[in-house]
Symmetry: C2
Subunit: 214 residues, 2 copies
Amino acid sequence: MAERPASRQGSKTRTRILEASQQLFNERGPADVTTAEIAAAVAINEGNLYYHFQRKEQIIEALFEEFESNLHRVAAAYLAYSDDPRRYAEYLAGWFNLMWEWRFLYRDGASIRRLSPSLRTRVKALSDTGHDQVRRAVNGMKSADLIRATPEEIERLVVNAWIIATYWIDYLRSRRGIARITREHIDWGASQVMSLFIPYLTPAGMTLLSMRST
Amino acid sequence: MAERPASRQGSKTRTRILEASQQLFNERGPADVTTAEIAAAVAINEGNLYYHFQRKEQIIEALFEEFESNLHRVAAAYLAYSDDPRRYAEYLAGWFNLMWEWRFLYRDGASIRRLSPSLRTRVKALSDTGHDQVRRAVNGMKSADLIRATPEEIERLVVNAWIIATYWIDYLRSRRGIARITREHIDWGASQVMSLFIPYLTPAGMTLLSMRST
DNA sequence: GTCTATAATGAGATAGAC
DNA sequence: GTCTATCTCATTATAGAC
């Protein structure tokens, strides 16, 4: 849950605005956090905040861009594992970690669309990319003979895995009443996604899965 | 997609307010619909609207109550099927229909919590009931020897089925960019949920499933 | 029960001095 | 870059006549 390294560009104040916004948004959602609150959290004046971001939606867009690049970084790291079959579990874990750090993006989709309609197409594009990545991972598992499934079954699996993962945080919060999400909740979500694949595992896949849980 | 029968209690104006609100909320979400718009849609004055509902959140709460009773009605109808194994598919279909008629409740969870914090506990309670119903249905399928699964597998299935169903509408809208949701999209969602159970089907279960698809 | 005002609020945003 | 002061505006909500 460590906050990002020195990867935010621009002035120091701008960086602090983004960090404070991310935290406040994660706590209560962009619609429920006013520009005045953000300014107070950064200990600057509201007028100053509007020097750096002329509109509130520009803060959201800047945060979304950062999330986007983080997601691509996770996907790239997964590829770096080359042929090690553990990479699938690592990829899933990396994905869930990001969802936690940027949970307001997963939880407040409706109000984000309202505040920043321009993000609509980018959210969809990112989701398409995500589907592709999951599909590639599942096909990779098939090629490595970890699972056995028809193309139709794989497509169902991709969509189901994507939905479970994407809405897991919101599910815990709104349907389970879990306010403070911990590492265990994240792991639970990952294993919930994994459970989709269990019926399709080959003996080799089963061995790998039981190794991991030790 | 037919609007509900004469089941709304109270005055005629009150009923019309609820109907107009439901439609507007489904289109654009409660946070994006002003009381002025609702009054205009009903062709009454805004002051009059505030005679029937002193706060905007009371409209949301009244609509939620109606949704609640509809959901219980669907569950009761499913029980009326007694032992016919087709009831599981019918139950699923009834559930998806409700999710379509009340899609704003599924789509705008965050802004609804903001506008009406008092609904939080009731949403959670309703979701608990929903889990129970799904669990009972899955256990019923097991007793009828339609599926074979361990208790742990069943619990995974219940959670996954619930998440896929609950977030299906939002998934189509926000991640697939589907603006106008049709009957086909609803059926797609239902079959996506069904796909979770396919690996666990017994021969009897498979026969039933293939009969249904004709 | 319904209407015509109009008050009260609180948020996003800007101008211009320092 | 930062601040103070102010503006605009949408929205909820109320008072009181009909």
